[in-house]
């Protein structure tokens, strides 16, 4: 038995147990004398009752002594971990699992408090009311749920520690991931350590944000998980969500039209959404641009302008900003808003890489002397040939492809109706070019040998060709009279390369409607995750028109028709502009990395891989933190890719990586920039603070054993010694019982019977 007294000094007062004896002795000497006539009756009564009087007196004396000693004990606040007391006096121990939603929507200011503060108040109450022997487990509900404190056994001394653990949980900048978080909860409940407990109580404290909870409730797996939890525990959902209508505007996104070149005016569009139920007026939206040479300081520098906007409730507004980049390299773009009730989503960052130009090598497989007869004449005309054009293209006939022309000197290679390379090594060079991040745009045509392409380019799916040519071309060329026309039927609107098209309805319509007369039937491997169809023809077989393949760090787009006017009318007056935009958009898309690893969400680790050695370590500077060193490690095989990883991205902002690249490597790899920027943003969806009502959530969770509490407003700041103790309540109960017994016995013995 491990018996403790929180106020052990009080035990000295146990000597007060002598008080009833002293009182008894004092009063025994203090009596009045009386001469009594009916003495014989008195003596007879006394004689008969002498023994019982003695017993009664002793009994009352003992009870009174016991009451005093128990009072002293109660004020000394005894505690015991494992004792007969805990078995005898206390009920079955409770085991509390608290799932605290700390997604950033919980930190919205709601009156004088926030859902997160309300949740903490409730947890404090749970911990305060927990008894010795109970246990508490604290977990978080967000995109990266974590067990903060597991199976922490409660004792008066430990309550403070548990509360400290709870206080260490801060509102995160992550979104809500109900499904993942409840999976963690279920695992915890099913863990061998937890199954030994019987009386389990699970509290989910959340703001009941409408979108994530609705989506989760539509997920059958989630409902099954919650049902299991409900069956195995006393599951309670505590709604701590907003009670007022707080103002909240969210910077949803910052977009730019494509690759940014030095010198040109670049347009950025910030989308601001009003997520509250009130109209917002006079909101200042600021636009910042900063270069990536140095980490961003606390002070917001680089302010370029401010727009004042008004947005109706539930609406969004696109605000354009323009900037002329004077130098190449990484830059961070930041858009922020004036303060509202939820700060976390008031700022968004975008990392852009400013380049001098996009170098494009166009290899013409069907060169002609006459103007606009060559395969690539229209293509080159569409790209443009001026010096200030961001796309600087060079066309070369396949016959004129010099051995001095290296693919790695370009950003994008365009193959137009290519029959074959003269030098077999060009295939390997092209593969290496794409693998390292180059963009490849392949146009087919009548020169294309099917078998050759399938063998050399496709290579059973391992090559750079996105699909296998499935026989000879379908249809007739544009100069034939009885030609059939095909239009684009299925267009993958959510593909990044079509973003501009999707935002322009007329353009998209024309993109669907240009005629293709002839194309190569191409089959793709539907299981290959790196291959996707951008658009398909309205042919019964739904043959693809445009296919993308991710290959290493690069991308390939295959057009199954020609770049010139032979097989389509993309160069007609009606659809020429579609081709123009298409070429520009596709080239810019091809030079962008397949995965935008520089613009990530909170919690996503920063990972940067290099195909060559770039030094031993990098210096990472997180927002408002000091720089730290991170090692750069080789792959398991001991060679490339070399990788640096930084996982502590729970705070939004711009992260700065500086590499110590050896000079030799700099020269060999022609590296111009030794820094890398990463924008870590909150998920703007979390900024939508609209919530579910109790009825709605209960309807969605129909059939699940769950009770519901709403908006607990207790506010107890309890740190340090806590007011309750393990056994003072049973002792108090005992004192009350003894007092009642003393009164009853005294009355029974005639003490109070007048």
């Amino acid at each position: 038995m491990n018996l403790h007294f929180i106020h052990a000094n009080v035990l000295y007062f146990a000597a007060a147990g002598m008080i009833p004896i002293i009182i008894h002795l004092i009063f025994r000497k203090r009596y009045k004398k009386i001469q009594w006539a009916a003495m014989k009756f008195l003596l007879a009564a006394y004689k008969k009752n002498k023994r019982s009087l003695l017993v009664e007196n002793l009994l009352l004396l003992l009870i009174r002594i016991l009451i005093i000693i128990l009072l002293v004990l109660m004020f000394a606040r005894p505690t015991a971990n494992e004792s007969f007391l805990s078995k005898g006096f206390t009920r079955l121990t409770d085991h509390y699992i608290v799932l605290l939603d700390n997604s950033f929507s919980m930190s919205v200011r709601d009156g004088n408090t926030s859902p997160f503060e309300r949740a903490k108040d409730h947890i404090r109450k749970i911990i305060k009311n927990a008894k010795s022997g109970d246990s508490v487990t604290l977990t978080t509900l967000n995109e990266q749920p974590k067990v903060i404190d597991a199976f922490h056994e409660v004792s008066p001394a430990e309550k403070g520690t548990i509360i400290q653990q709870m206080e260490s949980i801060k509102p995160s900048e992550m979104g809500t991931d109900v499904i993942n978080s409840t999976n963690v909860l279920l695992k915890l409940i099913e863990s061998p350590e937890y199954t030994k407990y019987k009386n389990k109580k699970v509290f989910i404290l959340t703001d009941l944000q409408r979108k994530p909870w609705t989506e989760a409730c539509k997920n059958h797996g989630f409902l099954e998980v919650l049902e299991k939890i409900g069956d195995r525990t006393q599951l309670t959902m505590v709604d701590v969500g907003i009670t007022s209508d707080p103002a909240n505007l969210t910077v949803q996104s910052i977009e730019t039209d494509g690759v940014i070149g030095v010198g040109g005016l670049t347009r950025f569009v910030a989308t601001i959404r009003n997520n509250s139920s009130k109209n917002a007026e006079g909101i200042a939206v600021n636009f910042f641009v900063r270069s990536g040479e140095k980490p961003i300081t606390k002070e917001k520098t680089g302010k370029q302008g401010t727009e004042y906007i008004s947005i109706s409730a539930g609406e969004q507004q696109r605000i354009p900003f323009f900037y002329n980049f004077a130098r190449m390299g990484s830059h961070s773009i930041t858009v922020d808003l004036t303060g509202d009730n939820l700060i976390a989503d008031n700022e968004k960052h975008l990392i852009v890489k400013v380049v001098k130009s996009i170098r494009v090598l166009v290899i013409d497989g069907d060169g002609k002397e006459e103007a606009f007869e060559s395969e690539t004449d229209h293509l080159m005309a569409a790209i443009g040939q001026t010096d200030d054009n961001i796309i600087q293209a060079k066309a070369v006939g396949i016959g004129n492809l010099s051995s001095n022309t290296k693919f790695k000197d370009y950003d994008v290679i365009i193959l137009a109706n290519l029959q074959t390379f003269d030098d077999e090594r060009r295939f390997e060079e092209l593969q290496e070019f794409v693998r390292k991040g180059g963009g490849l745009f392949i146009w087919l045509g009548d020169k294309v040998p099917v078998e050759y392409y399938n063998t050399e380019f496709y290579g059973d799916g391992l090559g750079i060709l996105p699909g296998k040519l499935d026989g000879n071309p379908i249809g007739k060329a544009s100069d034939k009279e009885d030609k059939t026309t095909f239009k684009l039927d299925e267009v993958k609107k959510d593909h990044k390369v079509l973003k501009y098209f999707v935002n322009n309805k007329d353009l998209l319509e024309d993109f669907r409607n240009y005629f293709t007369y002839k194309f190569f039937p191409v089959k793709i491997d539907p299981d290959d995750e790196n291959v996707s169809v951008i658009a398909a023809f309205d042919h019964p077989q739904k043959y693809p028109a445009l296919i993308e393949r991710i290959y290493g760090r690069g991308k390939i787009i295959l057009s199954t028709t020609t770049a010139d006017k032979q097989w389509n009318n993309l160069h007609s007056d009606r659809f020429g502009y579609v081709f123009l935009i298409m070429i520009h958009e596709f080239i810019q898309y091809l030079v962008s990395p397949p995965v935008d690893e520089n613009n990530i969400f909170v919690g996503t680790p920063i990972v940067k891989k290099f195909p060559y050695y770039i030094g031993e370590d990098a210096e990472v500077t997180a927002p408002q933190k000091s720089p730290i060193k991170k090692g750069i490690y080789a792959s398991d095989k001991g060679g490339p890719p070399y990788k640096v990883e930084y996982t502590d991205t729970l705070k939004s902002g711009v992260y700065h990586l500086k590499f110590n690249i050896p000079e030799q490597v700099m020269k060999e790899q022609e590296i111009l920039e030794t820094t890398e920027l990463f924008a870590v943003n909150v998920n703007p969806e979390e900024g939508n603070i609209h919530r579910l009502s109790q009825n709605e959530i209960l309807a969605m969770l129909d059939g699940i054993k769950i009770s519901f509490k709403t908006n607990v407003k207790e506010k107890n700041s309890l740190m340090g010694p806590l007011s309750d103790s393990e056994y003072w309540k049973p002792i108090l109960l005992l004192i009350l019982l003894l007092s009642l017994m003393e009164t009853f016995m005294a009355m029974w013995f005639g003490r109070y019977d007048k």
Partner: protein
Amino acid sequence: MEDYLKYLNPKVLNKINGLELKARLIVEGYISGLHKSPFHGFSVEFAQHREYVPGDDIRYIDWKVYGRSNRYYIKEYEEETSLTAYLLLDTSSSMQYASEGCMSKYDYACHIAASIAYLVFQQQDMVGLCTFDNKIQKVLPSSSNPAYLGDIVKTMAETSTNEKTDISEVLKYVGERLKKRGLVIIISDFMDEADNVLAGLRHLRHRKHDVVIMHVLDPDELNFPLQKLTQFEGLEDINSKVVINPRAIRNAYLEEINKFISNLKSGCVANRIDYQQITTDQNLGVALSAYLANRSGRR
């Protein structure tokens, strides 16, 4: 003189004036012409005739009148008898007890004795006094002279209380000494064994005396309202001491005393003895009036 005249409290005596104190039993008349011999029935003087009504005892039909008038008439007599009342007053130590606000049992007993004596003298009957504790202390022979009341009162005032009670022996002695049957009124707290008391009473009854006992008690003795821890010392035995919490013993004590009273009462009823319990907080006039009215009604 003034001191002992306090027992003749006019207020008290006025309240019982007009009431007749009559013996239940027919005793031998002392004053001739006023009282008929008990050997001749209960009437002593013809009063009037009245017509017979069903239920009348036919033994009292005047047959001479019937012979002359052929009507049934009943002869009615005024019942008058000569009475000798013997007052037996307990002067034992226990009679000293007086609770707060009350007179002592002895003083109260003296009031009773004086009042009754006065009443008896008023109707020209005879009164005698005998004080006793564990033995006969003083005896005043019976007399019908109203001036004799002063002697009785004086005797009561001069008597001290300091001995134990032994009623049994006293009553036997008194029974032997009283030659004429009469009314024996015993005024005492009867702090003796019930059996002893009843044995003495039976002896008196055996001698054909009409016995009335006035059981004088202090209200404290009946209710035992004491609260604080108390050392009780016996009035009749100073060596008898006990320290008791009165609240703790009250029920048991009341049980004892009520048992005694109950025994005494039932013994009296069995021996056709009038038992009257009087507490010292009672209004004496009211108490005596009630008793005498009751007794008159039972005639």
